[in-house]
Symmetry: C2
Subunit: 545 residues, 2 copies
């Protein structure tokens, strides 16, 4: 790749002296000092001027510099196989000539003849060494590199070397002896947040504070305002790779079990599942809203004979929740399936799916989990090979036995969920379990009551570390009964008529569940806020960036 | 599974006779006929009454009947391995006792002692035979089955037999000698549309018309109004399984190429990418809109160092388009990636991804494609092992050479696209090709102009059967230039400030593309309307069901 030579802009020498003044002894001394200062300045200016000229005169000037835009506008098709990824730099490549593209993470100049440049690509870093050598590296080239701004994108070419001592400041245990370096994209000199500040753990900040040093702590809002920078931390690179693995496993497991992936509409006529927490909009003159879940349509796909379906897509909740675990828009992982005799068939899928998912995360996302753990330390999730199932009544009893006052037919609040999580962990040694047979009154209208006691329902929630991640149930598949239940729950049956009608054409018994993707990642990694696991979170106060 | 016995409701015998009338000879004959008629009626009534009583007296009454709701409310956990899928019924299962669940597709009674019941499950059908036999099948049981409404869900138990002649009316070449049959869910007696009407091809309708028979043709709107029924046709079962395979291949290919799956927000502050075709809404007092594509956020994920990302999610367009290929909500398959030197790197991904996808569709979706072809006949897609790439200028030249008048710097209209598709097919033997280097003026503001001629751009469209399915390009990664381009395209730069700022922190050259999932399925299968490939389509006039 050709590159234009670079002309550093140096400050012109100061010219605020006047040598034609009258001279006294004292003044003479002052003048001498002034002259000396001027001389030094002129010398520096001269050196600077020479060095500035030298870039153009430098016979090596083609080996470094800023790449002009025109060279980045797809001028030439080249094989991308020439490039080596930073993460794949190993001692086996010793003496090989490589080309890298990455970001300037840090630069450390040692005098004028040497500089260390750490280049980062996708969380991996390598130390690149510039050392003045005739016909290879000029002093101007060292200076050019020293002047690069952090987070700029550079192409580095050089020879892989393996130092005798371990390299502390980079992930890869090789160095690059730089031969060429070009800047592809310049970052602004002062960034709103520094990556190393954003990547710092609370423990590091505390430790420094004890040693009398105040390090920068980047707060959540600032991170989210400059999410593009925040994303570059090793922990965030890890979090979103873990998130990707969660949905990959979800999908792969279900496809292997003969589920069909569907896409249901997010724009809904009428009022979705009812309730206040719905975003309303005008749809070509008709009142419409955003789907609060794919609930109604995924059930309709079951009535349409797809047998077993799943969907991964956005879910919209206009709730005024300012908690650590609610978002106005999140990614729903939804499942719906015919059942033959019992809602335990649905819980069986949950059980096997999530055990397989956790196993795969621990196996395939080791580096990502380490990166998260480094900034946000957490204990690996404890889960059983066969997931524990407790009835709601059993859960209530455990809480009562532990002295917790609780309504046996009410929903569990956050505190009770946490407490029960603790009790379950102590008694059964798991942080992942299913609680089923919830009171009917706390479940949505389409939930099937229990055959033996209509106070309870064929429903379940699933918990990780004492917080709910999944809600599921058998659904009412009898249209008359469904309409009756909707009415009993205060829903205007007219707004969901096509949904209820779907069951008049013959409907198999069925059930399903919904999972919050961001919650799974948050709780698997023991993170304290769901905003950490949403790329661009939306809450009642945030709709940007 | 236990089942309640059923009491058929028979009409009471007519009682409009009066035998106390005066009798003449003529009247005597008339009276005799009347008496005979009455006698027959009474006999029939008696038989009917007996048969109606007999259900309760029938020693076999536990072997058939409607299952009460309480038995379907997860009364008992049973192994689902007992069930056999209709699609897996083969002659190897001869003499085996099987349990099936499926829909009543057709019932044909032969006298009072025999009935043929065709049961359908996920598009597969099997003929079930009820034949009166002592201690096995009662006449009442035959009658019960004859009274079932079409599309009701039934559990059938029986023995697999293999007839000597081919079975015409069902997909599986075995019969079930029924021993038990229970109705799980009753469909209403008269359905808004019949599945066999909805499944009929135009050719069948035309053929019948030539023979003087007028068959029902279900029009598009009726289908969509009763989508849950329409979904059950073999063609639709096929279409949505093909759709699932398209997104599965898309994802699998990209994951194997080190892409990361992301989820970007659909709720956007400001005005998304600008333009009129945006759904606006109120977001907690702030003006917001629905994302017209993940364009801005997927680019921001590239600025955030994910290197290569993809997303599958809904895309919202408030366009007043009433064409066969536009929807107000569709599923976008989006890709964005760093490029080293040239946007051809993006086209390489398109090329390999889609060839692999088409191969896998032809290989893995044979039955689904056959089902679609049966109702909507089409020729398999012609595509090359290495996808053809033409420049826009070459395309224009081909059109000109064919006598088409065309603006060399305007966009191609639908007609020109079709014509070019024909010309390309004739010349190169492919219905899938890439057209690149589009005029800059017809592309979005974030498109990178060509290095050698700013009238053109580093962009491309991809066509199947003469219709566009993909748009892609290298993007402008220089913030100042990006702002300048936005302004030149009439976009208020303030509304996209965070997006433009993302490039100030150092941004790698990158490019990407967006695909419409529904269009890919529509055009791969040669379908004539995009509403056929959306489960619940949304157009300017339709927001239900």
């Amino acid at each position: 790749m050709s590159a234009s030579s670079q002309t550093p802009i140096d400050e012109p020498p100061s010219a605020d002296d006047d040598s034609s003044k009258a001279v006294s002894k004292k003044a003479a001394k002052k003048e001498a000092a002034k002259q000396e200062k001027l001389r030094r300045r002129q010398e520096a200016a001269a050196e600077s001027a020479i060095s500035s000229l030298n870039v153009e005169d430098d016979p090596l000037s083609a080996n470094y510099g800023d790449v002009p835009l025109s060279d980045l506008q797809s001028k030439e098709v080249k094989s991308i196989e020439n490039w080596t990824q930073v993460g794949s730099l190993t001692p086996e490549l010793k003496d090989k000539y490589v080309i890298l593209r990455g970001r300037v993470q840090t630069i450390r100049a040692v005098g004028k003849k040497m500089a260390f440049l750490v280049v980062r690509e996708k969380g991996f870093t390598v130390q690149c060494v510039l050392s003045e050598q005739p016909e290879l590296v000029s002093r101007q080239m060292v200076k050019y590199v020293d002047g690069l701004s952090r987070e700029s994108i550079v192409d580095v070419e050089g020879v892989v070397s393996v130092p005798n001592v371990a390299i502390k400041g980079a992930s890869q245990q090789v160095e690059i002896q730089v031969r060429k370096v070009y800047c592809i994209s310049k970052a602004m000199p002062t960034l709103p947040i520094n990556i190393e500040d954003a990547a710092r753990s609370e423990a590091e900040i505390d430790k420094a504070l004890q040693a009398g040093e105040q390090l920068v702590r980047v707060n959540q809002d600032t991170r989210l305002n400059y999410r593009v920078l925040d994303m570059r931390t090793p922990a965030n690179q890890g979090i979103f790779r873990i998130q990707c693995q969660v949905s990959t496993m979800f999908r792969q497991f279900l496809l292997d079990e003969n589920f069909v992936e569907i896409h249901t509409p997010k724009l809904i006529g009428g009022s979705s599942e009812g309730g206040a927490s719905v975003f309303r909009l005008d749809y070509k003159g008709q009142p419409a809203c955003l789907a609060q879940s794919p609930q109604l349509h995924k059930q309709m796909a079951i009535c349409g004979d797809f047998g077993r379906v799943f969907e991964i897509g956005p879910v919209f909740r206009a709730e005024d929740s300012y908690t650590h675990r609610h978002l106005c828009e999140f990614t729903g992982l939804d499942v719906e399936m015919e059942i033959k005799t019992h809602y335990s068939e649905v819980m069986d899928i949950v059980d096997r799916l999530f055990v397989a998912m956790f196993d795969s995360l621990n196996e395939k996302c080791k580096k990502a989990l380490e990166a998260v753990d480094k900034q946000y330390p957490f204990e690996p999730l404890k889960y059983l090979r066969k997931t524990l199932r407790l009835t709601f009544e059993e859960g209530i009893q455990m809480l009562k036995d532990a002295g917790v006052e609780i309504d046996p037919l009410g929903d569990l609040n956050t505190e009770a969920e946490r407490k029960l999580g603790q009790l379950v962990l102590e008694k059964y040694g798991t942080e992942f379990y299913i609680l089923h047979r919830y009171p009917l009154a706390v479940r949505p209208f389409y939930t099937m009551p229990c055959y033996d006691n209509p106070t309870y329902s064929n429903s379940f929630d699933v918990f990780i570390r004492g917080e709910e991640i999944i809600s599921g149930a058998q659904r009412v598949h009898v249209p008359e009964f469904l309409a009756e239940r909707a009415q009993a729950c205060g829903i205007d049956v007219k707004t969901i008529e096509t949904y209820i009608d779907s069951f008049r054409y013959g409907a198999p018994p069925h059930g399903g569940f919904g999972v919050g993707l961001e919650r799974v990642v948050m709780l698997f990694c023991g993170l304290n806020n769901i905003r950490k696991t949403s790329l661009f979170p939306r809450d009642p106060q945030r709709i940007a960036p």
